[in-house]
């Protein structure tokens, strides 16, 4: 028994390692959340960050399915929507102040969203989790279509097209937060984002969380170690629904309105893209994806009419060339730098960056010129004082030459890196 204990100590990470790997990132995350308001962000920034917080929780909950359990869902917004709708109703009950509702703080909304999301997951997951793989993906699509249609049919629950709105200041103060000013809402979102992130991280450390990964890798083998993979998927699905509902509760307070559009395939597709671009194989991937995509979704459209095309290109590019997403790139880079191999790869990296930049120049020029040509207002794309008209030779030089050059450089960089690794 004694040597067993010693091996046990050897195997498990040491206290210091545990602290460095698990606790420290959480402390840093909490610190970052706490420090942000010191910079005096504008209300626009606060609104954007609040939406980032909501999307971080939402993307992580989506990744409980796709990244952790191998279940591709095209309808995850259903659970955020149902959780959020429930919270909006609860907020209205609070504002009406009847019965015990008057005592419930609006601050606790995400807990209600969590419960509603779990319930929705339990009900809808029962039929849909009996299948995995493509049938599951298709069922999720079908269910999403049905729920979104129901959203328009049942006015008393979903408020029809106009949706249902509520007032976040309807309840009494909690922790000194009236939830009126956006600064208050920021603290609320920060708190619940932290709870959501820690909660979902903790989930990966439970037996069920581990089994969900095992089921993703090899559902058949799971059966032969005593687990029912359908049950594993179903339970994970309920939790994913619950955390999506938590995000719904956060959203209900931030935006104070829910519309049937929140249940539709559009937000489901958006969160799929965010999680994937962030990197579904890493716990932090969807967090990065949510931050980047929320920012781009709200701000890219200020700069170009082609933002949807850019997002699409980016998504396809990630699927094709960077399957581990932003997180994969970040951690890969970090590994190389911390492994002291930076010098070896610096050359090929520089080539690669240059290649990417050239490709970007070419793509952006093509897209911008194409959009202006398509609009037909005779407007000309004028970066850096260059007049790039769709008919001019210069434009096509700016499109073709950097593209060819960039492709060449990227190929060379790939070859160089192959040599380093082999």
């Amino acid at each position: 028994m004694t040597d067993m204990t010693t091996t046990y100590v050897n195997l498990a990470p040491s206290r210091a390692e545990k602290f460095r790997q698990r606790v420290l990132p959480m402390i840093l995350f909490a610190l970052a959340l706490a420090v942000i308001p010191l910079f005096g962000p504008s209300r626009t920034t606060l609104t954007l960050m609040n939406h980032m917080g909501i999307n971080i929780v939402f993307a992580l909950s989506f990744n409980m399915l796709l990244g952790r359990a191998g279940m591709l869902s095209f309808g995850h917004a259903v659970y955020l929507g149902l959780g959020g709708y429930f919270c909006v109703h609860v907020m209205n009950w609070i504002a009406a102040g009847s019965g015990i509702w008057g005592a419930v703080p609006v601050f606790s909304m995400p807990a209600f969203g969590f419960a509603a999301g779990a319930l929705a997951g339990a009900v809808i997951g029962w039929p849909s989790c009996r299948r995995a793989g493509t049938p599951f993906a298709m069922i999720s699509l079908g269910v999403a279509e049905l729920v979104a249609a129901a959203g328009f049919m049942f006015d008393s629950l979903f408020g029809g097209e106009m949706g249902i709105s509520a007032d976040r200041m309807g309840g009494h103060e909690f922790l000194g937060l009236t939830l009126g000013p956006l600064e208050d809402v920021y603290w609320y979102i920060a708190f619940w984002t932290f709870v959501g992130v820690v909660g979902m991280y903790a989930f990966t450390r439970t037996p069920l969380g581990k089994l969900s990964e095992a089921t993703r890798d090899n559902p058949e083998r799971v059966e032969f170690v005593g687990y029912n993979p359908q049950r594993v998927r179903y339970l994970v699905f309920i939790f994913a629904g619950a955390f999506a509902g938590l995000a719904g509760g956060m959203s209900a307070v931030q935006d104070e309105i829910f519309t049937p559009e929140n249940l539709s395939l559009v937000p489901s597709g958006a969160i799929l893209i965010a999680a994937y671009v962030g990197g579904i194989r890493y716990f932090t991937g969807p967090i990065m994806g949510a931050i980047v995509m929320t920012y781009m979704g709200s701000n890219l459209s200020d700069y170009t009419a082609g933002w949807l095309l850019y997002l699409g290109l980016m998504f396809v590019g990630v699927v094709m060339f960077v399957p581990d997403g932003i997180a994969g790139v970040v951690y890969g880079t970090w590994d190389i730098i911390s492994g002291g191999k930076f010098r070896e790869v610096a050359g090929s990296w520089a080539i690669r960056l240059l290649g990417l930049a050239l490709m970007a120049v070419s793509t952006i020029t093509l897209v911008e010129v194409a959009f202006r040509w398509s609009d037909g207002y005779g407007e000309v794309f004028e970066p850096f004082g260059l007049a790039l008209h769709h008919g001019s030779l210069l434009t096509w030089i700016v499109v073709v030459v950097p593209f060819a050059l960039g492709a060449l450089l990227l190929r060379q960089a790939a070859r160089a890196e192959n040599e380093v690794t082999t």
Binding site: T7, L11, R205, A214
Partner: protein, 255 residues
Amino acid sequence: MTGEALQLIDLKKSFGPAKIIQGVNLQIEKGERHAIIGPNGAGKSTLFNLISGRFLPTSGEIWLNGDKISGKKPFEINRMGLSRSFQVSNIFTNMTVRENVRCGVLYSMGYGYSFWRNIGNLREVSEKTAAILEDVGLIDKAHLPATLLPYADQRTLEIAITIAGGAEVILLDEPTAGMSHSETDRAVALIEKASHGKTLLIVEHDMGVVFNLADRISVLVYGEIIATGTPEEIRGDPKVREAYLGEEVEEGVPA
């Protein structure tokens, strides 16, 4: 009948018109090490799949420790104390070696679908996992992702997952297939140690391993058991020599 760990009664399995298992009767005593041999295509893997619940029998019954298990699902059978390995390594590829074994340990230790416990704090689970890794000799590679293991180690891990749950009846499907001589010797030693005091049913092509390990041997040909007995009896059985061993002697390797 009390001493029987596993009992197959007139077991049949057909895929469409093809009758793969045609009426198998077999009793395996508790603590017995039983090997099944036979040419390729005789239905050995199908038999394993029937016993472990992966396939449903067309007719016939299977009893485990006095309970009927035919018709039950694999995970139910596993929980009743029967565990199996696979011919082709069937492990959790994206997890580490330690996590692989831990998945095998969890259910039997009562942590089922628990989502309120931190797996790192489950001391018994960690100890049991470490003990198994130590036993099978993978302790040094505990933190490697399973995909990065060399082939023989993956086979070992396969066995480790199979025995991790502490099942009383263990089914091993060609555990040494594709291993070198020294690797095979190590695997046999491991199997002997791991199956100590347990009931073992093994399918194996390596006759050295079979005759070394088994208390009794059954010969399966075209879905039927043509002989069962001690290694000596089987060696001397003319039917077996004709149907199986003879072939092998002439052609070297079973076709």
